[in-house]
Structures are given as structure tokens and as C-alpha cells.
């Protein structure tokens, strides 16, 4: 039970570091650590398939893509012009307002039962695969179309003098 709170604290801590660190490369590295803590959350919820997909797709593919773009654009120096302090304070205040609204509505809801895994092997690959290929077969195929069009679009956009 304490493990959850430790990992939750780490996720919040590292996601704060993501948005407050000056150097974008450090931001990417902190984001990788944040995603790793999310993987631990998935393992704690016994969602093993999602844990592995999160590990491979997010920490592997997406973060490498971010790092490549940062290195290619040579943005890894602290050249970023900062927003005026007033705008920053306003941004933080707006984010806190959102958080307070969400937490307040949660408090009004006030039904808080403990999470108990009713079906322990719910998140295993075998179980999820059955659901994915029976009930969600059409969306699964359509997502392949989405990935194809995204690939074509990315190549077209990134090509010089398209």
C-alpha cells in the first residue's frame, strides 16, 4: 500500500521537473523517468500488457523520437526565451484552479471504495487479446489505417520542398 504512495510521489515530482527544468533535453529525460513510474503503476494494477506497451512504445519509441528531434534541431542549449513572469504566474494559477475544481468535485462525490482487483488476470495479454480481437476488431483495423496515414503525413511534412 505504501508502494503506491511512493510511486505516486515520484510521478508528481518528476512531472514537475519536466515542466520547470530550463534545458529541454533534461525535460525529455525527466519525462522518461515519469513514464517509468507510470509503468510501475500499471504493474501494480496488474495490467501487464499495458505496462509492457507503455515501456516499449512510450519510453522506447516516442521518447527517442523526441530526443532525436531535439538533437537535430540543436535546441539543447538554454536559448529558450522565457515568458514574462506575470504570464507564468497566471499559468500556474490557472492550472491550480483546474486542480482545485477537479479535487473539489471529487470531494463532493465522496464515494471512495478501495480498488480491489475483481478479476486478477484481467490485464494479461491472453485476456486482452480476446477482447481486442472479438469486440474491438474493427477499431483495431482502423487504427492501422490511422498509423499509416500518420506515417505518410510525417514523411510529407518533414520532407524538404514538399
Amino acid at each position: 500500500m505504501n508502494l503506491f504512495y511512493l510511486v505516486a510521489f515520484l510521478s508528481i515530482f518528476f512531472s514537475l521537473l519536466v515542466i520547470f527544468s530550463k534545458n529541454p533535453v533534461h525535460s525529455v529525460l525527466y519525462l522518461i523517468v515519469t513514464f517509468f513510474t507510470f509503468t510501475i503503476h500499471y504493474i501494480l494494477l496488474n495490467a501487464q500488457f499495458l505496462a509492457i506497451v507503455n515501456f516499449i512504445v512510450y519510453m522506447g519509441a516516442i521518447m527517442v523520437l523526441f530526443l532525436f528531434v531535439l538533437m537535430l534541431l540543436n535546441l539543447n542549449e538554454e536559448t529558450e526565451p522565457l515568458k514574462p513572469t506575470l504570464l507564468k504566474v497566471m499559468g500556474v494559477v490557472a492550472g491550480m484552479c483546474l486542480l482545485v475544481t477537479l479535487a473539489g468535485s471529487l470531494k463532493a462525490l465522496s464515494v471512495s471504495e478501495p480498488v480491489v482487483l475483481q478479476n486478477a488476470n484481467l490485464g494479461l495479454v491472453k485476456n486482452l487479446g480476446k477482447v481486442l480481437f472479438n469486440q474491438f476488431l474493427l477499431p483495431f483495423e482502423i487504427s492501422s489505417l490511422l498509423l499509416l496515414s500518420a506515417m505518410v503525413g510525417a514523411v510529407l511534412l518533414a520532407k524538404k520542398e514538399a
Binding site: 500500500m1 508502494l3 505516486a8 508528481i12 512531472s15 519536466v18 515542466i19 529541454p24 525535460s27 507510470f38 503503476h41 501494480l44 494494477l45 496488474n46 495490467a47 499495458l50 506497451v53 507503455n54 512510450y58 519509441a61 516516442i62 523520437l65 523526441f66 528531434v69 537535430l72 534541431l73 535546441l75 529558450e80 526565451p81 515568458k83 504570464l87 507564468k88 499559468g91 500556474v92 490557472a94 492550472g95 477537479l102 479535487a103 471529487l106 471504495e113 478501495p114 480498488v115 482487483l117 475483481q118 486478477a120 484481467l122 490485464g123 486482452l128 481486442l132 469486440q135 474491438f136 487504427s143 490511422l146 498509423l147 500518420a150 506515417m151 503525413g153 510525417a154 511534412l157 518533414a158
Partner: protein, 109 residues
């Protein structure tokens, strides 16, 4: 596997919702206070992940596998979005020589 899942027994669902709300709010703050387009993009990823975690927690709570399938679709969508978005950022950088979003104010009015 038994003792791992023992670790979450007894955690109220509210704490999962609170954790996801906090991380979502951090993502919103990141979008609002940064000017580097790539860091803004990373904040959007943070928001997507907060929602993913909450969907997984609800799915485990209700014992329904559809939530986790939905998270899988969100991850596929995030991969596509990152590819296209980073291509757009590369193109913007090539045209304006910076990744600063304040340069891109032609569509403002």
C-alpha cells in the same frame, strides 16, 4: 504476482483520481508557461498519460477489460500524433529557425 497486486489492496479509488488530476493539471501548467514547442508537446503527452492511468485504474476497479483496450488505442493515437507533430515542429523550425511559439502569431487575429 500475488504479492505485487497485494500492494494496491485498500487504496481508495479517489487517490487514483487525485493523482491523475494532479498530473493532468501539471500538464496544463506546462502548456501555459512554456514557450518551447517541444516542451509544450511533452506536456500534452503528460496529460494523455494521466488519462491513461485513470482509465486503467477504473478498468481494474470495475473488472472490465474495455478500459484497458481503450488505453491501448490511446497509445496508438499518441504515437501517430507525436510523429505528425514532431514533423510539423521540424518544418516550423526550418522556416523560422526557432521552436519558439511566439514567432507563430500570424494566425492570431
Amino acid at each position: 504476482m500475488e504479492n505485487i497486486t497485494q500492494a494496491i489492496q485498500g487504496i481508495p479509488l479517489n487517490h487514483y483520481i487525485l493523482l491523475s488530476s494532479i498530473i493532468f493539471a501539471i500538464g496544463v501548467m506546462g502548456v501555459l508557461i512554456r514557450r518551447n514547442a517541444i516542451v509544450i508537446f511533452m506536456s500534452v503527452e503528460l496529460m494523455l498519460n494521466a488519462v491513461n492511468l485513470l482509465l486503467t485504474a477504473f478498468s481494474a476497479y470495475r473488472g472490465d477489460a474495455s478500459g484497458q483496450v481503450f488505453v491501448f488505442f490511446i497509445m496508438a493515437l499518441a504515437a501517430a500524433e507525436v510523429a505528425v507533430g514532431l514533423a510539423i515542429i521540424v518544418m516550423v523550425y526550418r522556416n523560422t529557425n526557432s521552436a519558439d511559439i511566439n514567432v507563430l502569431n500570424k494566425l492570431k487575429w
